[in-house]
Symmetry: C2
Subunit: 306 residues, 2 copies
């Protein structure tokens, strides 16, 4: 391992936001049925290895389009795992390609476990360009159900490697409140998790006041998003639910700090499958899917700057 | 996909318990530093592919020892993921080898996500011999933080494929109560999750009264284990925390039903690294690590039958 101290994850991500003038996070969620026709047509038989190669090509070509105009990408592990082991080989290739292109990589795995098993996940997915882990990923989404001592091993790895995590606080799905909105004493469960996140960031703040423990807060609950921006002033927020899930630009602006940083807003389907969106289908279609990705990314950048 | 209806996961697992006369689940948690010396000594350099090959050999040789004397194995995804993509190729090989040996496979991934992403995880890891998924796994551990609508896609795949899930209810770690023990109204969070599990099993019961939605309840909280056995009468319980984590045979017996079924008790380190246990190290040592695995498995079987 290099002797130099790793650069803080929050510093790197906020710098990437400043460099690109964008808070758009492009979600890499490949799905067989949604791939553009030119990629689907290349599939030999129905072998996982063929689909995995198509996923790699699809995601790497998206990365070529969006690098330099967005700060980060978020590969969704589930869709790669759905192909079996060959899909995980593709995930590894996509992460390394994105990182080499200068994008911050948020691996969306919603992992967690206890003790040394949590350490294994942290070792797998947290890192930085100077202190990379086995996958070459910068950061990971992490579930809090197993409690404080399941989060702490990730925090230790953030310190050692310069990686980051995004703890699930308030998720974007309609049923997310089943546990998250339950009230115990004065606090909801999501507020309890937010309090833990803020506590863990203390003493780990960079010059801008951000720590390595980010939080997932859905765009689909704008009131809670504003509340949680206040409750977690040291966390970069990862905001899913924009676009296809219903969140609008005005809904997510409360996530940003006064400098327009401190949050990234994810869109997956709306960008990567833009060739199928009614308003883009006629103009671009499957054959010009790269142009549709570029147009959708620039549109989202514009909406979030407005 | 075959036309025949898949066999219920609970039926298959309880049958495996009856066939082997054992409720022991062998946790496959390979770790570089703990592998027996003959396997560590074979590593060429420090390449992930070399370690992955060692993990495959280690786990498959354990499977050769324990098949026929335990009903199931539980590979821990985190330790395979720690090796990067090569580790996931090893995980795939280990799952298929275990399944071909007639063992029920519980993939311990503590996965979950929302909507169609949860469906992707379910598609990846749930299945049965007649209706296998991409990994060849029977079942998956699942985190409930994202709520009811994140569990339902797994239930649908259980119905279609004959697979199962184990929802995290009360975990074995010291800090597990951080959220799980919080009380909202009359119920703790873990009781709320247990209620959801029982509700989802209803209308999915096999002839013995078990459904496909199992639950993880740690051996380290014996009082809650007895309480949760009552609260989830239709769930097979997956009980971690036995042995190295402190749970004893008397602690876990309340998990079993009157026929001695309805639960499996996991041990990882205590079995797979038995060659390092003080009481076994002198008798077996690294060279005879297979014999140590066999002795530890038979010892645990005996303790749980007593």
């Amino acid at each position: 391992m290099p002797n130099s101290s790793p650069a803080s994850f929050a510093t790197r991500l906020n710098q990437a936001i400043a460099d690109t003038g964008s808070v758009t996070c492009v979600g890499l969620d490949p799905r067989k049925a949604s791939l553009p026709a030119p990629l689907r047509d290349n599939i030999q038989g129905d072998r996982p290895e063929s689909w995995a190669a198509a996923y790699t090509q699809f995601c790497c070509e998206i990365i070529d389009v969006v690098k330099g105009i967005v700060p980060c990408v978020k590969p969704q592990a589930a869709f790669f795992e759905q192909l079996g082991p060959a899909g995980m080989v593709s995930l590894g290739e996509v992460i390394r390609y994105a990182s080499a292109a200068g994008l911050v990589v948020i691996t969306d795995g919603k992992r967690n476990d206890i003790g040394s098993t949590a350490t294994a996940y942290a070792d797998a997915y947290l890192g930085s360009p100077t202190h990379p882990g086995p996958w070459g990923s910068d950061s990971l989404t992490v579930s809090p159900y197993l409690g404080r001592d399941s989060i702490e091993p990730f925090v230790e790895t953030c310190d050692a490697r310069g990686g980051g995590i995004f703890v699930l606080v308030k998720t974007s799905n309609p049923g997310g409140g089943f546990l998250q909105d339950l009230k115990s004493g004065d606090q909801t469960i999501y507020q309890t998790v937010a309090g833990l996140v803020t506590e863990l960031n203390t003493e780990r703040l960079d010059a801008d006041g951000y720590g390595p423990i980010g939080a997932v807060v859905g765009a689909t609950y704008p009131a809670q998003l504003a509340e949680l921006r206040q409750a977690m002033p040291h966390s970069i927020l990862l905001v899913p639910g924009f676009g296809a899930q219903g969140g609008a630009a005005d809904d997510v602006k409360p996530a940003l700090d006064q400098n327009g940083r401190g949050a990234v807003v994810n869109s997956s389907r709306g960008i990567i499958f833009a060739h199928s969106r009614p308003e883009f289908a006629q103009k671009f279609g499957d054959a010009n899917w790269h142009d549709a990705v570029r147009a959708a990314t620039e549109e989202m950048n514009q909406q979030l700057r407005g």
